[in-house]
Symmetry: none
Subunit: 204 residues, 4 copies
């Protein structure tokens, strides 16, 4: 039975995975499909094969599910940015790799990302504040890299670093509006192109 559980849990699938994981998987899929407010708690628990009581046993509110989805994506991206920031590679390389990496991980978690950009404002005000604070931390980490490149002369200083970050992340956010897994380009190709555009824009 332990092995059955382990097997089914691979993707948070409905069979024998732990209930909270099943709920998160169902919520993520449904929020991405029809949006947060168009998804009822009833639909989530039906998709997860549990009852409402079980959901509220693990999550305080529908809002909590949304917040957890954000947390999952934010933690992942922050972790990866930290790795690039702390690397020994030349700044130009670190920025290019970080810029491409965030594209790849966004595409790999496109449902989470779509939910993020569409539904953040439906979070309760206090949770929204928390998310914004974490988001800002991420933004500032990236900005620090850009500024480092500008100070060392490998990047143009024509544009304030803040704007550069917003420019790049606008395109990252936008991915969930147009990227289709069955499209012409692989995630890595898209990532390389977008990172390339950023690097070219930063040439002195």
């Amino acid at each position: 039975m332990a092995t059955a559980k382990a097997k089914a849990a691979e993707k948070g699938g409905p069979a024998g995975a732990p209930v909270p994981r099943r709920l998160m998987a169902a919520a993520t899929r449904l929020f991405a499909e029809r949006g947060y407010d168009r998804t009822s708690v009833q639909e989530i628990v039906e998709a997860a094969g549990v009852t409402k009581g079980a959901l509220y046993h693990y999550f305080g509110s529908k809002d909590d599910l949304l917040h957890e989805i954000y947390g999952r994506l934010l933690r992942l991206q922050q972790e990866r940015l930290d790795a690039y920031a702390g690397s020994e590679a030349p700044i130009e390389e670190r920025v290019r790799e970080a810029a491409a990496d965030v594209v790849v991980t966004t595409i790999d978690n496109l449902d989470d990302a779509m939910i993020f950009f569409r539904s953040m404002h439906q979070l309760s005000p206090d949770k929204q504040k928390l998310v914004r604070a974490e988001r800002r931390r991420y933004h500032e980490g990236f900005r620090a890299l850009i500024e480092e490149g500008q100070k060392s002369g490998v990047f143009s200083t024509a544009t304030p670093a803040d704007l550069v970050v917003d420019y790049h992340f606008g395109s990252v956010h936008h991915l969930s509006s147009w990227y289709r897994p069955d499209g012409r380009l692989t995630p890595q190709e898209v990532a390389d192109h977008l990172a390339d555009l950023l690097m070219r824009a930063l040439r002195p």
Copy 2:
């Protein structure tokens, strides 16, 4: 009273402006403030100083108000893009100006833009299809400009034109997430910076 009307009508304000305009103004403000689904029809009619009957006299549904907001913004931007596309100026200049202009008009209509990016998926499927088609037309108009520059050799062909357009428009969509009217930069300055980043990225 005629003067009072004229005065209040400046911004679609509540006093004596035509009822449909007052409804649109109220809906736009409220949708931007609290989101489409968090705004009730009751709140809209109260803010507009009319009754529900009046709203349903002019608009078929709440959904229609949203669709109308989209139409207003899309028509404006398409019009302006067409002007740049049809101009006699060198291609580089036309792209730079179009790229900057869409930033300025987006900031000038930041409420509309915020609603656009947050609430498009809350439109009814058929209206969503309509909007997407118009959006695609706009996208293709812009892509044609990029391709013209690539063919004539003034823009690098390293990145497919489609991706370039998505890159730039990602940052335009993103504006409503970070731009604040009381911020450091004027709309025109932001527009110049973002257009500059695009042009630098396109350098051969």
Copy 3:
């Protein structure tokens, strides 16, 4: 039809009476029968022959219905007390009559009274505050009468007037716990007995 309405409205009956009155009548009966919290909004609207939407069109919440029931009783009793307070009769007579009258009107509105004493604490805190303030005003009006009698020497001063009022009103509150319309004594007989007990206790 206007006459039909008028006829049916006599007791707030369900037939043609105005919807708010029908709702109040249904709520009063059900709250008295099974208590506030054991009565669902669904049951109220069914008993009134309307839909939930109609209830919430006229009342902001279930709580509002309760508050309105209190208001109705409080206004009635305050009005009558004011009449006795302002009368020209000798103080002893005024107190006896007021003391008896509150018993009669309590019995005449026994459902309201029962709801009052059982369910007041289930009101929202702010509404509870309002009710308590009005109740205190009533209490103080009655206390003033007692004190007037004490000062003029017709009532004993052995007991503080406050306690006297609480003593009498305890028995008034208690009425809904034991009085049955089909019992041995008429409302007026009960009232006379209780007023008599008060007057005897107040003899110097």
Copy 4:
């Protein structure tokens, strides 16, 4: 640890007292604070520092806790009334002392009393019947004392004994609505005043 237990057990406190007692103490406090229906089983077990399983091990239902609170108070008051009834003192003295005593014990157990008068109707019908029967027994015991006084001529027969009992017990029930431990009068003073009012009302 044994001493810690002993200390905390003084008031049925949470530390080391037996689990059922801790549950009763927590339930009593919470029911008095926010009412029976506004208190969840979860809150009770948290306040008692145990789990739901433990509660249902000792009590059949939430309802049982309420019933037990009633039983505790009723047993105490019946016991004390029986003592006065069986005493050798003159009837006037026995009534005065019983009337005062029930006031003191009500104030000493004000939480129990408040729960009693507010929440009796929230008991299940059959338990309610039981409680009412015990209450009636108490009422009749007190009435017998009044009647004894009336027959022996020391009390007026102007008022039926039943009504006299209801008059006095109305004020006892009412205590939990106004008595505050930090008020002007001690429990004994209040008791003396209320007993005095009763005795004065009964003067022939």
